[in-house]
C-alpha cells in the first residue's frame, strides 16, 4: 500500500476508532446489547420499517448521520491541523488527486458503520419495492461522503472557511461557558467516551439488578453496586480535579467564593447523575419506591461530592488514589451495613463541606512543585 494511505490509516482511522471506542460501544450496547437475541432481527427490521414509513423519523436519522459525519470530518481536519508542520506538509506534496482519493478513503472508513447501516436500510427498501426511499438513502450517503471529503480537502489546503459553514460545531450541544458548567463541559467535551462507558455500566448494572433479577433483588447488594459505581466514577472525578487545577488554574485567581466553588461541584454531580436517576425511574416501579430511587440518586451525588472534596485534602498520585479508593470501598461497605443510607448521605455531605472548606486554599497541585 502507498505510504500516504498507510500513514493516513494510522494517524486518522486507527486514532478515530480508538478515541470513539466508548461512543461506538455505547451504540453497540444500545442497538444490540439490550435486545434479547431471538428478537434482534425482528426489532431491527421493525426499526428500519419505521424509518421508511415515517418521514419525521427518517429526517431525524438523516440529521444524526450528518452530525456523525461532522464528527468524522472534524477529527480528520483536526488531525491534519495537529500534524500541520510535519505530516500534513508531506501530504501537501502529493497531487490534489491523490490527496482527494486519500481523504475519500479515510472518510469512508471512519464513516463505515453508518454506511453499512444505510446500505442495509436501502436494501430493505429496494426489497420491498420502495425504490424511491432506497435511492434517497443511497443518494444521501453519497452526498454526505462527497461533501465531507471536499471539505476535508479544502481544509487540508489551508482554505478553512470554504464549502461548509459548520466546522467545529460538534458536539452540537453548545454549553455556554459558565463557572458552574466548566467541569460538565470538560466531561462532555474531553471525556465523552469515559462518560458514555460509565453510563453504559450504570444502565447494564441497573438492568441486571432491577429487571433481569427482580425476583432475587436485595437492597444491600444493590447499594454495594452503587458503591462500586461511585468508585468507577471516582476516576473521572480525579481527572476532573486535575483539569481544574491544571488547565483551569486561572480560576484560582478570580474572585469566586469558596461557597460558589463548592456549589459548582455539587451542581456538576446533580446534573451528571441525571441519566442514572432517569434509568431508575424509567425501569421499574415495583421493586423500588420513588423515595428510595431518589435516595440512591442522592447517595451517588454525595459520594461524588465527597470524592471531589477529598482530592483537595492531599496530593494524590494516580496509583495512590486507586489504593485509597479500594480502602474507601470497604470502609463504606462496613458503614452501610450498620448505618441507614440516608445517614451516610448526610455524613458524606457534611464531611465534603468541611474538608473542601478547610483544604481548598491549602491545596497545592503537584505539577507546580517543578515550576520555577
Amino acid at each position: 500500500m502507498n505510504l500516504i494511505y498507510r500513514l493516513s490509516f494510522k494517524l486518522m482511522v486507527v486514532q478515530f476508532y480508538k478515541r470513539n471506542a466508548g461512543l461506538l460501544f455505547f451504540f453497540f450496547i444500545a442497538f444490540f446489547g439490550i435486545i434479547p437475541p431471538q428478537y434482534l432481527v425482528t426489532t431491527h427490521l421493525g426499526l428500519i420499517h419505521a424509518q421508511i414509513d415515517s418521514p419525521l423519523l427518517s429526517l431525524c436519522v438523516l440529521v444524526f448521520w450528518a452530525s456523525y459525519s461532522i464528527r468524522c470530518t472534524n477529527f480528520i481536519c483536526t488531525t491534519n491541523n495537529k500534524y500541520w508542520d510535519s505530516t500534513t506538509s508531506y501530504f501537501r506534496s502529493f497531487s490534489p488527486k491523490t490527496i482527494r482519493i486519500n481523504l475519500l478513503l479515510v472518510f469512508s472508513v471512519v464513516y463505515l458503520p453508518i454506511t453499512i447501516y444505510g446500505i442495509l436500510v436501502a436494501s430493505v427498501a429496494f426489497f420491498e419495492e420502495n425504490s424511491i426511499y432506497g435511492s434517497y438513502v443511497l443518494t444521501s450517503l453519497l452526498i454526505i461522503t462527497l461533501c465531507n471529503t471536499i471539505y476535508a480537502y479544502h481544509f487540508s489546503q489551508g482554505r478553512k472557511t470554504l464549502v461548509f459553514p459548520y466546522r467545529n460545531i460538534y458536539p452540537s450541544i453548545k454549553i455556554n461557558f459558565h463557572f458552574n458548567w466548566i467541569l460538565l463541559s470538560y466531561y462532555w467535551r474531553e471525556r465523552t467516551k469515559v462518560v458514555l462507558l460509565l453510563k453504559v455500566i450504570s444502565y447494564v448494572g441497573f438492568n441486571l439488578f432491577i429487571i433481569r433479577n427482580k425476583d432475587f433483588f436485595r437492597e444491600d447488594y444493590f447499594v454495594l453496586f452503587l458503591l462500586l459505581l461511585g468508585s468507577f466514577n471516582s476516576l473521572l472525578i480525579f481527572s476532573g480535579q486535575k483539569f481544574l487545577e491544571e488547565r483551569a488554574q486561572f480560576l484560582r485567581n478570580l474572585p469566586i467564593s469558596l461557597f460558589a466553588r463548592g456549589m459548582m461541584n455539587l451542581i456538576t454531580a446533580i446534573v451528571y447523575f441525571i441519566p442514572e436517576l432517569l434509568f431508575l425511574i424509567g425501569m421499574n416501579h415495583e421493586i423500588l419506591t420513588y423515595e428510595s430511587k431518589f435516595l440512591y440518586y442522592t447517595f451517588l451525588i454525595s459520594h461524588f461530592v465527597l470524592q471531589f472534596a477529598l482530592l483537595y485534602s492531599e496530593n494524590f498520585s494516580y496509583w495512590k488514589y486507586i489504593k485509597y479508593l479500594v480502602v474507601m470501598l470497604f470502609g463504606f461497605q462496613m458503614m452501610i451495613a450498620v448505618v441507614p443510607i440516608y445517614i451516610v448521605i448526610v455524613i458524606n455531605l457534611i464531611l465534603s463541606a468541611v474538608i473542601f472548606h478547610d483544604s481548598y486554599l491549602k491545596y497545592e497541585h503537584q505539577t507546580s512543585l517543578m515550576k520555577d
Binding site: 491541523n81 461557558f177 463557572f179 463541559s185 478570580l254 497545592e364 507546580s368 512543585l369 520555577d372
Partner: protein, 211 residues
C-alpha cells in the same frame, strides 16, 4: 500597596523563599533571579494561586479565607506559559471574565484589537499557538480595574509588534494607577521601573532601578 511579612514558602519541607518584610509602593516593579530561584512561586503566592506561610496584603486587605473575594478582586495574574481548557474559545473566556470583573465592552474590544486577539476570538483554544495563548492570557489579565497586575515573562512568545503594544498598554494602565509586578529574562520592557527585586539564595533583595 503590596505588603509582605514573615513570608516563607517550602516544597516538601525544602525552603524555596523567605521574605521577612517587604513593602512595594504603587508603580512598576521587576523581579529577577536565576531559573528555579522562586520568582514564579512568589508571583503565584501573591496572586492567591499557591498557599504559603505568612502574610501578604494589598491595600491593607490580607489574603485570607475571610477576605478571599475582596483580595482576588485586587490582583490579576498572567502566567509565563498560560494554559486554558482546549474546548473553549477566546470569546467564551472574555465573556466569562467580563461578567466577573466589570469592564467596558468597548475597552475590551480595543484591547483585543491591540493585542491581536480579535483575529482568533471564535477559534477553539486547542488550536492556538503559544503566542496566541500568551496574547489571550494578557488580554484576560487586563480585564477589570484591578490594583495590581502580575505579569510573569509577559514578552515570551510575542512578536515585536505585540511587544511594543504591550509596553503601550502597561504605560497607559500605569498612568491610570495600576501597579505592575513583572519578571522578564528579555529586555523588552521599555517602561520606567520603580523597584528592581532580586531573588538569590532563597532571599529577596531590593536593587536600584536598572531600566
Amino acid at each position: 500597596m503590596i505588603e509582605i511579612s514573615n513570608f516563607s514558602k517550602s516544597y516538601n519541607g525544602n525552603l524555596v523563599l523567605e521574605i521577612p518584610n517587604l513593602e512595594l509602593d504603587q508603580g512598576i516593579h521587576s523581579l529577577s533571579g536565576k531559573n528555579g530561584s522562586g520568582k514564579t512561586t512568589l508571583l503565584k503566592c501573591i496572586a492567591g494561586i499557591l498557599p504559603y506561610e505568612g502574610n501578604i496584603s494589598i491595600n491593607g486587605i490580607r489574603n485570607s479565607k475571610a477576605n478571599m473575594m475582596k483580595y482576588l478582586k485586587l490582583v490579576r495574574y498572567s502566567p509565563a506559559e498560560p494554559v486554558f481548557p482546549n474546548f473553549l474559545k477566546s470569546q467564551d473566556l472574555i465573556a466569562f471574565y467580563s461578567s466577573m470583573l466589570p469592564y467596558e465592552q468597548k475597552d475590551i474590544d480595543i484591547l483585543a484589537r491591540s493585542l491581536g486577539v480579535s483575529k482568533f476570538m471564535d477559534v477553539q483554544i486547542g488550536h492556538y499557538s503559544s503566542g496566541m495563548l500568551k496574547k489571550l492570557s494578557l488580554l484576560l489579565t487586563f480585564i477589570g480595574n484591578s490594583e495590581v497586575i502580575i505579569l510573569d515573562e509577559p514578552f515570551n512568545a510575542l512578536d515585536t509588534e505585540t511587544c511594543e503594544r504591550l509596553n503601550e498598554i502597561i504605560s497607559q494602565r500605569r498612568a491610570a494607577g495600576t501597579s505592575f509586578l513583572t519578571t522578564t529574562h528579555q529586555n523588552n520592557l521599555h517602561v520606567t521601573v520603580n523597584k528592581g527585586l532580586q531573588i538569590e539564595n532563597f532571599q529577596l533583595t531590593i536593587n536600584e532601578p536598572n531600566i
